[in-house]
Symmetry: C2
Subunit: 264 residues, 2 copies
């Protein structure tokens, strides 16, 4: 682990990342120190920094640090955390911001392959996502809603929980983005009011475009998801997991889902 | 500063308090190591732990640690942070939780006394609070909304910003709770959908009860606040600050506000 470029595994207890969740993060896979999906990870990270007015680190520096922590690992989970650093007491952003940059890696064997092959069982979460357009899409450090949602089940058969917003619109999984296929059209929830705009989501949208498929971002009801022809969740570590079962609904693996899996 | 009872000023970079804001905090004043408003602070801290299913530390232990960090300071700001500690990657709460407890103190001269004496100038914030009943009232570590709201102004004349929720209902100040007086009645925003239930708010409610005054918790519109006979904000460090000016509205110091200030 590197903290501001130096080996270390701790941060100041007065860091604003701890005090207020005043920062962002990305989790990604690296192979022998090379991050996967970097184009999209970097795009999202830079956008999130801009949205929170956090100084964005240099791309080359981040790549060097990822290589440094993950080079000796064939397959690693890399986590990047950027915070607004320490400051005076109080919510006001410090005039001179000294951000904290944490880059860490751990060896990783991957998720069980049957999740991608056979699809997963998912559930609907009771915990709702608050509607907050000011923070929508950003992978920030305020993630208590996800923690509460993920605490709703312990059954290891259930790999993911889907979340609605306060209006009852479908948003995402606790740790993934959702896509459905309906009459040949690929649709994913609009993330303008809440949710995390994941790197894999962006990659799926671009990959579909290369197939000549426009992904429509829309407000989806739970009924529309249940009535979909195909459904899958995705994130940077999981890739694409077809939904095999959601509550009482079951799906066979869908053709478009399989095609996207092959292309990624 | 004490981290889990031992002198230190850092925490693990993999703490869930940093990763997800998975924890709570309190900020309070201590005099020679004795915390003020402790009855209410402890009540709120224990309630917040229960709400997030965080193990609550022993009260006597916390008091010893506060005394330890603040004993040599005539007047100190004490901050208590409790997190769910480190755990495996992912949102799921660890089966065996080893919480992190941070108790820190710093010398403090108090806010400028004219804020309590003459009242403050406040503004309306554009940043809205999301409606999230699952987290309402809890002083948790997900405070990006407050950070964004506080970043809206730099004018030192403005001491506080009042925040509305997504429905346009008045909730609180960025770092304080709000009370208004209307026709002799004391009213404070209901915090069942968002906002922080502060220790000073609870103390004001109890103090008013001792005067035979029932505080009504209600949904208030900005117009109702502007039309109030008196208005004040409060928190544990500030005590009570009368609102002297809010946008174009001005108030002279109100009789009930003054009476509550004297009693606290």
């Amino acid at each position: 682990m590197l903290v501001n470029g130096a080996p270390g595994d701790s941060i100041s207890a007065s860091d604003r990342g701890l005090a207020y969740g005043d920062g962002i993060y990305r989790t990604l896979e690296a192979r022998h120190g090379t991050p996967l999906l970097w184009h999209w990870q970097w795009q999202r990270l830079a956008a999130d920094c801009a949205a929170l007015r956090l100084p964005c680190p240099d791309e080359a520096l981040l790549l060097r640090e990822i290589a440094s922590v993950a080079a000796r690992l064939e397959r690693a989970v890399v986590k990047i955390v950027l915070t607004r650093g320490s400051g005076q007491r109080g919510y006001a952003m410090p005039a001179a911001c000294s951000p904290t940059r944490i880059v860490s890696a751990s060896a990783w064997g991957g998720y069980p392959p049957e999740r991608a092959q056979q699809g997963i069982v998912a559930r609907w979460c009771d915990t709702r996502l608050a509607i907050q357009p000011w923070l929508a899409g950003i992978k920030h450090l305020n993630r208590l809603e996800n923690v509460l949602a993920r605490s709703e089940w312990t059954d290891p058969v259930i790999a993911e929980g889907l979340m609605l917003d306060m209006d009852g619109t479908v948003v995402e999984g606790t740790m993934s983005n959702l896509f459905i296929v309906r009459a040949g059209e690929l649709i994913t929830p609009l993330l303008d009011r809440c949710g995390v705009s994941g790197a894999m989501r962006a990659c799926v949208i671009d990959t579909a475009a290369n197939l000549g498929l426009h992904v429509r971002e829309a407000r989806l009801s739970p009924d529309e998801v249940m009535a979909a022809d195909e459904a899958f969740v995705c994130n940077s570590l999981a890739g694409i997991w077809p939904l095999r079962q959601l509550a009482a609904r079951q799906w066979p693996p869908g053709a478009l889902t399989r095609r996207l899996q092959q292309l990624l």
